[in-house]
Amino acid sequence: AQSVAQPEDQVNVAEGNPLTVKCTYSVSGNPYLFWYVQYPNRGLQFLLKYITGDNLVKGSYGFEAEFNKSQTSFHLKKPSALVSDSALYFCAVTLIYNQGGKLIFGQGTELSVKP
């Protein structure tokens, strides 16, 4: 069975500092990996995805993530955090990239960026 783990419930970062939100996955085939962000009382918003190719993928709002097959990780990064980045971040995986492929989410990581 496929699963996603986000080892940190919360990450605290000072504004302007780099941030990393960790994600590891466990799947039996080639994973398709995603990051979503959730603001309070809002739906999940897509940030970026890894399908194939370059291990470093760039997404919305200056976020990027690095796929590491040997470590089965897909950590989310941003060089300089903003207070407005404070939100709940979910890593997700699917094995099926075509119709009907559901996403399996990690537990979520609360990112708090302080001024």
């Binding site: 398709y32 995603f34 979503y36 009382n41 809002r42 739906g43 999940l44 918003q45 897509f46 995805k49 399908i51 194939t52 979910f90 699917t94 099926i96 990239y97 075509n98 119709q99 009907g100 492929g101 559901k102 996403l103 399996i104 989410f105 990690g106 537990q107 979520g108």
Partner: protein, 116 residues
């Protein structure tokens, strides 16, 4: 751009009552998903439909049912409601981008169900 529309946004029900949530996917999206997110929890997959046919089923209770209609909107019906059904219910829709594309789900804002 059009987004995924969910209604109602908030719903309060008593135990053992019935609730129906509606989802209107993005036009031309062919797949609809339902997720349940309890307080402080990650979204849990319930069920999905591709071209109006059930395509996958997750941890959906037998008291719940769902369908996708000819206009592609979907409804989640929940009967004999229990306190534990109180959650945020998300609908998402997607469309395959192509042979090398990925199934990027676009989520609605959610329907918050409170069972008293």
């Amino acid at each position: 751009a059009a987004g995924v529309i969910q209604s109602p946004r908030h719903l309060i029900k008593e135990k053992r009552e019935t609730a129906t949530l509606k989802c209107y996917p993005i036009p031309r999206h062919d797949t609809v998903y339902w997720y349940q997110q309890g307080p402080g929890q990650d979204p849990q997959f319930l069920i999905s439909f591709y071209e109006k046919m059930q395509s996958d089923k997750g941890s959906i209770p037998d008291r719940f049912s769902a369908q996708q209609f000819s206009d592609y909107h979907s409804e989640l019906n929940m009967s004999s409601l229990e306190l534990g059904d109180s959650a945020l219910y998300f609908c998402a829709s997607s469309f395959v981008e192509g042979p090398s594309g990925a199934n990027v789900l676009t989520f609605g804002a959610g329907s918050r169900l409170t069972v008293l």
